[in-house]
């Protein structure tokens, strides 16, 4: 299985589309961070204008942690698109290229083929989030330095001490990997169904956009639906920056997202095992 995963990773990283996600992040993060360097202090002042009447803010509030928190918060729609570009291509790409035939006629089970491709997709997702984390925190540290993290949660201010933050980011990025793992699994499931990678990419993105819109609009019927949408649980990483941390919320969301990964992967496996290869 390890050999197969290695081969799948080799194939993924030999395709130029794989690098679109890394290039997009490489371009986007410096732009955001330089823009915040230019305008960020004004934004911080604006955000804290009411509080400044009662409190005195000291130290470096516009720091690497604050910037990385903002970036993680704002990329919920964009990162999934970069994930689906690769995950949607994992199975359907073989169908489009006609390479299913040379792959499945080898003495290897369909279970191994699907599982190794899925594992490679999850590893790619992890690497993309890791790249985001390193660039976001690393470049942020160079430009802004570090400091305490000022966070607004449920109408209250939370100030997290400088030396109490990194582990929260570590968990937040791991949670983001799980969230994006759901996106990758969904794209993978659609990839098992069709013979062209464009379909899974568009369908997955359409579902995520629709779910996010439903989650954002506060109408009664949407509020009833919301618990059944996986996007509803993808923002639970913010809980890592609460004090005290809502462990129940984090664990519940993690389990629900993990269950989605398992269900989507299992469905893809069942479909692929029964699939007639006609391409």
């Amino acid at each position: 299985m390890l050999t197969l995963i290695n081969i799948e990773l080799y194939k993924i990283f030999k395709k130029w589309r794989t690098y679109i996600g890394f290039i997009a992040i490489l371009v986007l993060i410096p732009i955001i961070e330089f823009a915040l360097k230019m305008e960020g202090q004004r934004s911080i002042n604006f955000m804290t204008r009411d509080l400044q009447q009662s409190f005195i803010f000291v130290g470096n509030l516009l720091n690497s942690y604050f910037v990385s928190y903002l970036i993680l918060n704002s990329l919920a729609v964009h990162i999934p698109f970069l994930i689906t570009l690769v995950a949607g291509d994992l199975l359907a790409g073989e169908a489009t290229a006609g390479t299913y035939r040379i792959l499945i006629t080898r003495p290897v089970s369909r279970f191994s083929i699907v599982t190794s491709k899925f594992a490679a997709g999850i590893i790619y997702t992890f690497l993309l989030i890791l790249f985001l984390a390193i660039l976001s925190l690393g470049l942020g540290s160079l430009i802004f330095g570090t400091g305490d993290l000022l966070n607004f949660s449920n109408g209250s201010i939370i100030v997290l001490a400088k030396n109490d933050i990194l582990w929260r980011f570590l968990l937040a990025y791991l949670f983001a990997t799980l969230s994006m793992g759901v996106v990758a699994s969904l794209a993978f499931l659609f990839s098992a169904l069709v013979e062209n990678a464009i379909g899974p990419i568009i369908t997955t993105m359409a579902i995520i956009i629709i779910f996010i819109i439903i989650s954002a609009i506060n109408i009664g019927i949407f509020q009833d639906i919301r618990p059944y949408l996986f996007t509803n649980y993808m923002g639970a990483w913010r809980a890592f920056f609460d004090n005290p941390m809502d462990t129940y919320e984090v664990v519940k969301s993690s389990l629900i997202l993990f269950a989605h990964v398992v269900v989507f992967y299992s469905a893809a496996l069942i479909i692929f095992q029964k699939k007639d290869i006609l391409t």
């Binding site: 050999t3 081969i7 194939k11 030999k14 035939r101 040379i102 792959l103 003495p107 007639d276 006609l278």
Partner: protein, 306 residues
């Protein structure tokens, strides 16, 4: 003792919604056979080959390869099969060498550089081993397809239209390779081709299928001699020859008389008999051309169905 059965297909059927692609097909391929698998487009050849390689699941029937059920021993069986299915597609963004290396690893065999270069040499691609496959012509991809089929030195080689897209020289090379693999390496070869002349040249046994079911199966030689041959006599005095034939029982065997040529449907014995008759009646016979071939035989069978 009967030779060992390598492929045994029993009552195999596959339908796609209303379309019956394969319908109750039975095939027997024996060790050492070069087995010709013939049929017009849409006859069910590729569907059958895909079922033999577990790309498609049959609706009914059983496939036994090397004496074992394909369903229960898929991995074990596929280890001993090399195949080309329809057009040769590879990872275009990888080199020919890397494609073979990857396929070797997937087959759970870590094939040495020497072995990979050996099969590339065999198909005439060793000088382009570093080139990305997307830069290859169709013919080169076809040859790479053969290389990947031979990489793990399989006992059974399944070739689905292996000469498609090749120039005449390339077609001859593949034909020679099939003969070499059969005679020198004792491989069993299952060959599907729409170029029937090629099957005639290399196969010892064959099956003709149409609309998903078998029409004829047997030894190529026997099947070719089973019916009358179409023979064209080129004669010197055509008009007199025509009059002579019209006044005898030979006229019943006459198919066509045009431009100095008389074409008959004859048994092998009748060919010499007619030749003798014409010569005895002072008709110069310049040439006797048997036009019967597997292709005509194939067409006669499949056109009956149409």
């Amino acid at each position: 003792m009967d030779p060992e059965k390598i492929i045994e297909v029993v009552n195999l059927s596959k339908h796609f919604k209303e379309l019956k692609a394969v319908d109750g097909l039975n095939i027997n391929v024996y060790k050492g056979d070069v087995f010709g698998f013939l049929g017009p487009n849409g006859a069910g050849k590729s569907t059958t080959i895909r079922m033999l390689l577990s790309l498609i699941t049959p609706n009914e029937g059983e496939i036994r390869i090397f004496g074992k059920s394909l369903q229960g021993h898929r991995k074990e069986i596929l280890k001993k099969i090399g195949a080309i299915v329809e057009k040769p597609d590879f990872y275009g963004y990888l080199s020919a060498y890397k494609n073979l290396e990857i396929l070797g690893k997937i087959s759970a065999g870590n094939y040495s550089k020497k072995r990979i270069m050996e099969v590339l040499e065999l198909v005439g691609l060793s000088k382009r081993y570093k080139s990305k496959v997307k830069t290859f012509s169709h013919g080169m991809k076809q040859r790479l397809g053969i290389a990947q089929a031979l990489l793990h030195d399989p006992e059974l080689i399944i070739l689905d239209e292996p000469t498609t897209g090749l120039d005449p020289q390339g077609m001859k090379e593949i034909r020679d390779l099939i003969i070499f693999l059969s005679k020198e390496k004792q491989k069993t070869i299952f060959l599907s081709s729409h170029i029937l002349y090629e099957v005639e040249l290399v196969a010892n046994r064959m099956i003709i299928i149409n609309k998903g079911s078998a029409k004829v199966e047997g030894k190529v030689e026997e099947l070719l001699n089973a019916n009358n041959l179409k023979v064209t006599f080129e004669v010197g005095d055509w008009e007199n020859a025509k009059i002579l034939i019209d006044n005898t029982a030979w006229v019943k065997k006459l198919e066509m008389a045009i431009n100095g040529k008389l074409t008959f449907l004859l048994t092998p014995e009748e060919i010499s008999e007619l030749n003798k008759y014409l010569v005895q009646n002072n008709i110069a016979v310049n040439a006797v051309i048997p036009t019967r071939s597997l292709e005509e035989y194939f067409l006669s069978i499949t056109q009956k169905e149409a």
